[in-house]
């Protein structure tokens, strides 16, 4: 089944990516001190979740499509 194959591929890449992430020397090419633009609220994927969700609800209840509407969160990685 196509779905299964897609998921299998994703699982494989995901595991691979995760494996590489385990303290291996992948250097982040945008350093934490270079993330000024991502600290700006205008770069947030959803500045106002309550409003974004409502609008998604409006579209989704009138269309056949659904799902894969990412986008709440944001920030600069400042912890």
């Amino acid at each position: 089944m196509r779905v299964t194959r897609i998921l299998a591929a994703m699982a494989a890449t995901g595991t691979l990516a995760a494996g590489l992430g385990g303290c291996s020397p992948i250097e982040p090419w945008v350093k934490p001190y270079e993330r000024e633009h991502f600290a700006d609220p205008i770069m947030s994927l959803s500045r106002d979740p309550v409003s974004t969700s409502y609008l998604e609800h409006v579209f989704e209840s009138r269309e056949g499509s659904r799902g894969a509407t990412g986008g709440v969160g944001g920030g600069c990685g400042c912890n």
Partner: protein
Amino acid sequence: MKNRLVTLAAALLLSVPVMGAADPSGPAPQFTLASRTGKDLSLAQYRGQVVMLNFWASWCGPCRQEMPLLESIYKKYNKMGFVLIGVNVEPDSAKAEEWLKQTPVSFPIVFDKDSKVSKAYDVAGMPSTIFIDRKGNLRVLHRGYKPGDENEYLDKIRTLIRE
């Protein structure tokens, strides 16, 4: 297909260990940077004192939050052989200057406009705070800031001053 997703979830969790910030050691990388007063400032001139390097940016919320606390720490320990240096990481220092006008600090601020020092110290989070002992050796790395962390700063400073 559910199983595959569970496997993926497990793989993500197991293979990405949380890399804690191990405390550094060895001599602190030397640097000379333009400071806020216009004069150059070198790390070398503080040899014999305990140095706290704080990497910060005006766009970083936690950095702004801890700034007034850092100021009070500096004022309290400055006369006991302790210095705090704020390393601003922004390529354009105008925003930092503007912010400092509203939140004045008396400790030295230097501008690492081309990120040389941030790179040398391998800054991996904002803010990052590094403690250097009287001998010029790296001792403690503190990543990030959350309310209460200032107590940890004070502990480290007291310990290092006594050495």
